[in-house]
Symmetry: C3
Subunit: 377 residues, 3 copies
């Protein structure tokens, strides 16, 4: 009777009854995981070789709830505590919420996911748990990675899976991202389509995550994105290599836009391109120890520059991330301490320097901290 009185806007279809922890609840408790995804560190920052500052930072804190609700329905929710929480102007969900989706098993091999979800872009860099990334290369860093829509998955067999997504192409309105651009009309349905192949070959030694995407950014303005992720496992070595290519009829990343002074071009540039390589090598001589090095490069081009003397290539951004990870616990083998250096080197073309006044620069970060996806329930 307390129950009856207390509740309004109750959904009468949900009830929990009977003996101590009924079977239904036991199944949920077994199948649902609650995870605190954490990355914490003491970060020491450098600019052009000069020490700038140090601070303790909660680099990542993402609370996650996921699992199977019934044999055919599963759920995933992930929310950040390191991001502003106002709802996206296009998709209506808090910008801090990465994922809020359900997945329905339609038939043998076929699944349907609906809600806000990871855009299923290929590449091992993006597919990793974000807490395992010390710094993203430019494309992933400046993308809207969590989009609202639907996904169909076809799992051909244990070796090959294919997904197809249809989503909003962004979380915010055209006006919020681009303001206005002469001659460009916002699209009535800013939609993104993505196909993805995950393959496992050679008994798991070689794996791939390849994808192709198209984003309608405005009427007659599309973004084309290819990501080819490849992984090779050899004994104590793990190699991951991603190739990424983003052709943007409107400069969605805003990187080229940031090179050009507002006095020369007061709105977002058109016809930009970003081409990236990302290589990650792990050497794990024993269970408790991992050495890694990441090398990455991002090239930025502006083909839409009206200047007849232009050089399309404006900038090359290099990145190098060597480090070591230590896993102290056998019974919690995903908790690791790390020590890493993140170096970024930004080199502009002579044309960009001369015409736009851009200046080469580099940044560094020495970090020591811990990472864990902590299963708390």
């Amino acid at each position: 009777c307390t129950q009856l009185t207390a509740q309004r806007q109750l959904d009468s279809t949900i009830k929990s009854t009977n003996p101590i922890i009924p079977i239904h609840k036991q199944n949920l408790l077994k199948n649902i995981d609650v995870i605190a995804n954490m990355q914490w560190s003491l970060n020491n920052y450098f600019q052009d070789g000069k020490y700038q500052q140090s601070k303790f930072e909660n680099d990542q804190f993402r609370l996650e709830i996921r699992g199977k609700i019934t044999d055919r329905v599963s759920f995933r929710f992930r929310d950040r505590y390191t991001k502003v929480t106002e709802p996206g102007s296009l998709d209506n969900l808090s910008r801090s919420t990465d994922i809020a989706s359900i997945t329905i098993n339609l038939a043998k091999k076929w699944d349907l996911t609906m809600g806000k979800m990871c855009a299923d872009w290929g590449g091992y860099e993006f597919d990793a748990n974000p807490i395992d990334i010390y710094e993203y290369n430019d494309i992933v860093e400046y993308s809207d990675n969590f989009l609202t829509g639907a996904m169909i998955s076809y799992t051909a067999n244990q070796q090959h899976q294919f997904t197809f997504q249809l989503m909003n192409s962004r979380t915010q309105t055209f006006e919020e991202i681009y303001d206005s651009i002469p001659g460009v009309t916002p699209s009535k349905f800013p939609v993104a389509a993505n196909i993805n192949w995950r393959g496992t070959m050679a008994g798991g030694k070689f794996q791939t995550i390849w994808s192709y995407s198209q984003f309608l950014e405005a009427q007659n303005r599309t973004m084309y994105y290819i990501a080819l992720g490849n992984q090779l496992k050899l004994n104590k070595f793990l190699f991951q290599y991603d190739f990424k290519w983003s052709n943007e009829q409107l400069d969605r990343k805003g990187i080229v836009g940031s090179f050009v002074p507002k006095s020369i071009l007061p709105y977002a540039p058109q016809n930009t391109r970003y081409v990236e390589h990302w290589l990650h090598v792990n050497f794990q001589p024993q269970k408790k120890l991992n050495f890694f090095i990441i090398g990455m490069v991002s090239n930025a081009y502006w083909y839409g520059n009206p200047d007849p003397n232009k050089d399309n290539h404006l900038r090359t951004a290099w990145g190098v991330i060597p480090g070591v990870e230590y896993f102290p616990f056998k019974d919690l083998d995903n908790l690791k301490f790390f020590c890493t250096y993140v170096g970024r080197f930004y080199k502009y073309s002579d044309y960009a320097k001369r015409t736009f006044g851009d200046v080469d620069t580099n940044t560094g970060r020495v970090s020591i901290g811990f990472i864990c996806p902590l299963l708390i329930l």
Copy 2:
């Protein structure tokens, strides 16, 4: 000893000890539900018959935790991820938090609820889980529905329950809602009182949720609200009819205020009235299928208009929502897919058109998506 070290601001009255899942915890696990209330859809918008735009939207995402703590104490918490989170300036709780309350069983038939809660207004439209509503009529849409205060419930028997609430009349200060109005002084205790009767008659075939409320908005400025909800179940048919009447000495809804140009009246109007009818018919020919149609109308009046040639009646807003719902799962029978049309038609009186320049308009929305109050733990 880890425990001892780790914790500060610990409440020493809470401890979990002993064998694997102690009885106390088992009881909690049995009695507490964690629910993800979701509505997601692809929405296609029309304005005055013309297609405007399409987008995927997370229409609703409200996380809920509720249940019995002990035999005499229960708890309810519900928080939206589709709303700004800054604390209410009057009640101090995040505006995204609908409910944060405890209910204490005082005696047989008597319960006391304290905290932020649903205002216990009558009417089946408001009493439904919000995820089951495709569009609210004007009164509910523009009300502060979740208020802080206390509620006494008296459950006479299985057929009749009465509640009495005393709450803040809003979540924000007078100044934030009304700015300032000449001749109107904010109240020192902006309080709302509400009485509600929930009745069940004819063996459950006929049910009611009737309520009467008074809101003190400012000194000598009260809002009176009557809502009479009635429900009839006949085999495969369900009929719900709500009558709502809101008499506002200060225009709390702001609807009439939005009709009048600021150049004619620079602050909130006084003595407005809203009168509404809402009819909902369900026809469920079989367990997995439901057809529904909702018809609604909202009339807006301004009795406080100083114009001697006034017409009190300024606008009639019509709404029609036909649709179909499909329940694919036997073991998750509250998950449904839906396809619906939401049409709204706004017709102004000749006086409003002539004097205030208001123009008739209509909007449409075609939506396809899913709804579920997903029990996740």
Copy 3:
């Protein structure tokens, strides 16, 4: 296979498998607590003896998850729903998140905590669960109490524990707190160090929480803080006495800064000091009833005032909080109803009145409500 399809950015190191509630999960369920920390009341406010206003308020709502993950790792998370959620500009975590940390048992008697945590300042006032505090004295009220960093604990024995913390000295940047101050350069590593002793003597009758801290606020500008908390238990009586002393080379609390008109000093004052006494007496004649009175005083000094005729002592703020608490439930013995008066009396020195135009004032609050750290899972 639903699982496989649904998830991206999965951490493959987390899986839940096998029979209904596997042992690992049972251990988590046993050891992890989910707590809703609530304080709710009807507050009636007075200013200089004159009634101002009444309102229901959710004074406190902090959701907490904490417990042991494995024998050597524990976790704590606490988040407020009564505070803005934007991430701290220095520590990157939501300002509403008090605590997000893990504790690792390094060795017998030694533990290491990392993340955002309670600054381990001494004093019983700060060490209490915030829901048990009706009003803080000035130092705790105006401090950044939840900071990011690391803590080492040494538990000598059941009677004595020592902790050492190294943390950011704030959650926000220098510029956000102080704007700019002529002659003051922000520190490159704004760090705080804290040592704390918790002692238990005389068979638990006498206990202490003493601490000493240093905060680097800017280059050559340090804050020194001493807090000495002492507790005596005698039958039905509990006495707690805190002495607090904060010497601030930059006025971190901003209290002295608020006394001085911007026209006299347009930026934060230097060399301020706050000295406080806090006495709390509980008399619990029976299990269900507690009478308490808190007396507190806070003295504010400005030694850095350039005026040759200055009086260093600018203000004395008195506080008195008498009240009664009633515990209705045997099986939920931390849920209490309370009725309390909070009186604050602010008396300025003649110098402050004459030179800065400060005026004596007092405020009152009569509150009735409930408090509970509700174990919900």
